[in-house]
């Protein structure tokens, strides 16, 4: 019992000591990162389906699927797709540029999420328009923050 308390107190102190190191992304830094992509152009909501489970058990591997509604023909296609987050150490998650052989503007991958937060996707279309979608996810075991055992 006594040992357990000591361990917990030690672990807590360790976590606090680490906090200054983790200059985490904030909603503001995420907005700045998104603005680097969008510039001053208008961003409209819609056309993107961002599929992440709303309740995440393990933030180290979070399955994510992003799909943009587009015919992907020469005249109407998605040129790029970006994913951002609010509270990981860095706001950027991934960027995909689609070439002429891309069959659908859709990818699936696994990402890390450090905390309960919002994940935002931004799509750039060939006509220059920008579309966005966001999803709030709850993370019970965070990635990134804890060190090795």
């Amino acid at each position: 019992m006594n040992v357990g308390c000591t361990r917990r107190a030690f672990a807590g102190g360790f976590a606090v000591a680490l906090l200054p190191l983790a200059a985490n992304a904030t909603p503001e830094t995420m907005r700045e990162a998104i603005r680097e992509v969008t510039g001053d152009r208008a961003v409209r909501g819609g056309r993107i389906v961002l599929d992440i489970q709303p309740l995440i058990d393990n933030g180290n591997t979070v399955p994510m699927r992003v799909r943009v509604e587009s015919a992907m023909t020469d005249g109407d296609r998605v040129t790029a797709l970006h994913v951002f987050n609010e509270k990981n150490p860095q706001p950027h998650v991934l960027s995909v540029r689609f070439g002429p052989r891309a069959g659908r503007a859709e990818i699936a991958t696994r990402i890390k999420l450090a905390d309960t937060q919002k994940v935002v996707a931004v799509a750039e279309m060939s006509d220059g328009s920008l579309w966005t979608a966001g999803i709030d996810v709850i993370v019970t075991i965070a990635a990134c923050i804890e060190g090795l055992e």
């Binding site: 860095q90 689609f98 069959g103 699936a108 991958t109």
Partner: protein
């Protein structure tokens, strides 16, 4: 050398959109975690994944440390003409891996 796993059909119909699933062994060390001695483990990630089919780009993906270890990626390719599906992964510490397979378009 990390051996990538790529799951793609061997034969597809002309004009068909087919799915490619890829997995590669890599720690994707974020550069934000302390190691056993308390110092930060240096960043070691895959920075880019590129895919070409029949000589033309399918996608070019830029990864950040927020992509999980052993990056898994699913994407879709349009088969207008047959050819080689070429994948390339590059990253920190000179990491490089590639994979190529022929896909027949009928």
């Amino acid at each position: 050398m990390a051996a990538p796993l790529v799951n793609a059909p061997k034969r597809v119909r002309r004009g068909e959109v087919f799915e490619v699933r890829t997995l590669i062994s890599h720690p994707m060390e974020t550069g934000f975690r302390p190691g056993t001695n308390g110092t930060i483990i240096p960043r070691d990630i895959i920075e880019h994944v590129r895919c070409r089919f029949a000589g033309e780009t399918v996608l070019d993906m830029a990864l950040s440390p927020a992509v999980s270890a052993n990056p898994y990626l699913v994407f879709y390719v349009r088969a207008d003409a047959g050819g080689a599906l070429e994948m390339e992964w590059t990253g920190d510490k000179g990491f490089s891996a590639s994979y190529s397979t022929a896909i027949v378009v009928e």
